[in-house]
Subunit: 364 residues, 2 copies
């Protein structure tokens, strides 16, 4: 697949906000960078993970930082290209393909902007099929790949290399501290893997899925009087292991926000528009983690919770939620690999300090 | 000069506590590492800065961390040797000599232990002639050398490289955060400089001075009924630009300690033994920064304040101070280079947030 039109990029960006489940950082900056490349005649070649050579060198490129700082603190278009060169120096070989670490939010689009710039293919896969706040919360890490060496830089040319650590959680802690000292938004090259590893460790076909969702929302809006039907047709396809539910429709009546320990913590309370006595709650730690209707859990991490504008079906990030907003909340099943016990141990409810056990959306 | 006896090492360690002005970290761990090398028949060759070849590659080796953690969190003897190898890889050339960044506290002895291990000479000079808490508080930095590349590691093999930054203060902030995430005590190779730079930027002959003070205290204790006279004869030699004063003799009646923002903040109140109504105060931010007698400043950073046990004249670190302790407080002039305006701007009173202007000890 080739990405070379502005419409594709806008669809991708819309899909990335959907899969960001409220977090992942606004992909707008990535969209601008990618559009700039496309307008210069560049393009992104997307390849399937299964088509990678077993000894191909694959690397992730990702922004690390506070979503709120992101749009104020732009990167130079050279930052990520230089990171790729630094990584090649660390590895002692050329990089053959770029893989997104997360397909939700900013980090779905940034790798494509870099790939277009340097002419490398992007793998149609990622490490989570959504967005998560920690860099060790990826299937790559669950299945034994090391994040290090991690090359980190900002647009001033400040540059740090995490060469080696005893755990990927330690890389996360180090990177978070380095980020705080370099302006709260940095870019990184990380998780160097071989093609053979990517094939077994990655969540496959997530870039196509992201584009399909973004395009589906656009087309449903253009063609249908009730666009949500079109969207649910994409999300709910049990034969493809896809499950989805409309969790709630209503308006926001209360939001509690707190920025603490580098996280965006929030809870959102909603009531229905029809005057019924229901109470719907969302719990947020950067991403939406849990949805509750009248105190009963209806969707739980790593399954995806997404907030859509009730009229336009445009996906919204958690920072964008406001009092009085009319929203439709969608629950989408995580891909099967994400629900395996070894994955749930890292980014299931327990990974976020909840005592609740994971129950699949379709069983709730 | 060759360092190859246990007595020399003990003298050096005593001198390093004196020049640590209360901080710098207890050099005991360094002493053990150095003794281990000497017992294996190794030795340290100390060379004068002026004898360095102009194109010699000189590097500092230093511990970074919380003095309180230091003695609990031992390093492997390979940690610093590997740092040297990493630095050589960064520089693309062999290191020819090691220079202490600070001659006070732990970081005077660690470079010698590494030098003995790998057979490199140590330069008889450092970047401050005492101890300071920040890694940009060195004459190397004041006169334009960059701390980066900085290679950082702990005994687990966790390894980070600060490759490049826009300021040495930023390196300090990054290193402090990395240290906190790697167990609160790490080791580093930093400030790669050429021989020609060291000659003009370093504080000269401070390793000899450290040994002279340590030996002088030992000999005075062995030979004199009042050892302090012997010590003051070393410290007060106006022809060599050396000035010193006994600031106070008395006992500790109050200590306020606080560990905040990674610093050891404290104030110490003392009264005389002779029943007089004097009040003597010490202000501490890791190191002793200011001495006041009855509210009037009598010694001020970067001049050196040292606490000695009243009877044995053994120098004590600030962590070792206790209620009821009988102490003699000595003020010693910093070397002339340390009192230049460009140096005072970084580590004079203003560098520690004080509004008071620096006045030399001998004029107070």
């Amino acid at each position: 697949m080739i990405i070379n039109t502005i419409e594709q990029i806008k669809d991708l960006t819309r899909g990335a906000v959907f899969l960001g489940t409220g977090g992942g950082g606004d992909p707008y900056v990535g969209q601008l960078l990618l559009q700039q490349e496309i307008r210069k005649g560049k393009y992104v070649k997307v390849i399937k993970a299964k088509d990678l050579a077993d000894d191909a060198q694959v690397v992730s490129i990702a922004g690390i930082g506070a979503p709120s700082v992101l749009v104020e603190h732009l990167q130079s278009k050279d930052t990520c290209r230089q990171l790729l060169t630094k990584m090649e120096k660390q590895l002692g070989r050329k990089v053959n393909a770029i893989i997104p670490a997360e397909i939700g939010g900013l980090n779905s689009i940034i790798p494509m902007a870099v790939a277009a710039q340097v002419g490398l293919p992007v793998v149609d896969a990622d490490g989570m099929g959504r967005a998560f706040p920690h860099l060790e919360m990826v299937t790559f890490s669950v299945y034994g790949s090391t994040a290090a060496p991690v090359c980190i830089a900002n647009e001033l040319g400040d540059s740090v290399i995490i060469e080696k650590t005893t755990s990927n959680r330690k890389v996360e802690d180090l990177a978070r501290g380095i980020c705080a000292n370099l302006g709260a938004m940095v870019y990184s090259a990380l998780y160097p893997m071989l093609g053979a590893e990517v094939k077994v460790k990655a969540v496959h076909d997530t870039l196509s899925y992201c584009l399909e969702i973004g395009r589906g929302i656009r087309l449903a809006r253009e063609q249908l009087s009730n666009p949500i039907d079109g969207i649910m047709n994409i999300l709910e396809q049990p034969k493809l292991d896809r499950h989805a539910r409309i969790l709630f429709e209503g308006k926001v009546v209360d939001i509690n926000r707190e920025t603490r320990d580098g996280w965006h913590w929030a809870s959102v309370l909603m009531i229905p528009l029809n005057g019924k006595d229901d109470r719907f709650e969302l719990e947020i730690q950067n991403e939406y983690l849990k949805a509750k209707l009248n105190g009963k859990t209806t969707c739980l991490v790593p399954d995806l919770i997404t907030t859509l504008d009730l009229d336009t079906c445009e996906p919204l990030t958690a920072e964008a939620l406001k009092y009085g907003q009319r929203l439709r909340i969608i629950g989408t099943a995580a891909t099967p690999i994400m629900r395996r016990p070894e994955c749930l141990a890292v980014f299931g409810p327990i990974g976020f300090g909840m005592s609740e056990e994971f129950i699949p959306l379709e069983d709730l």
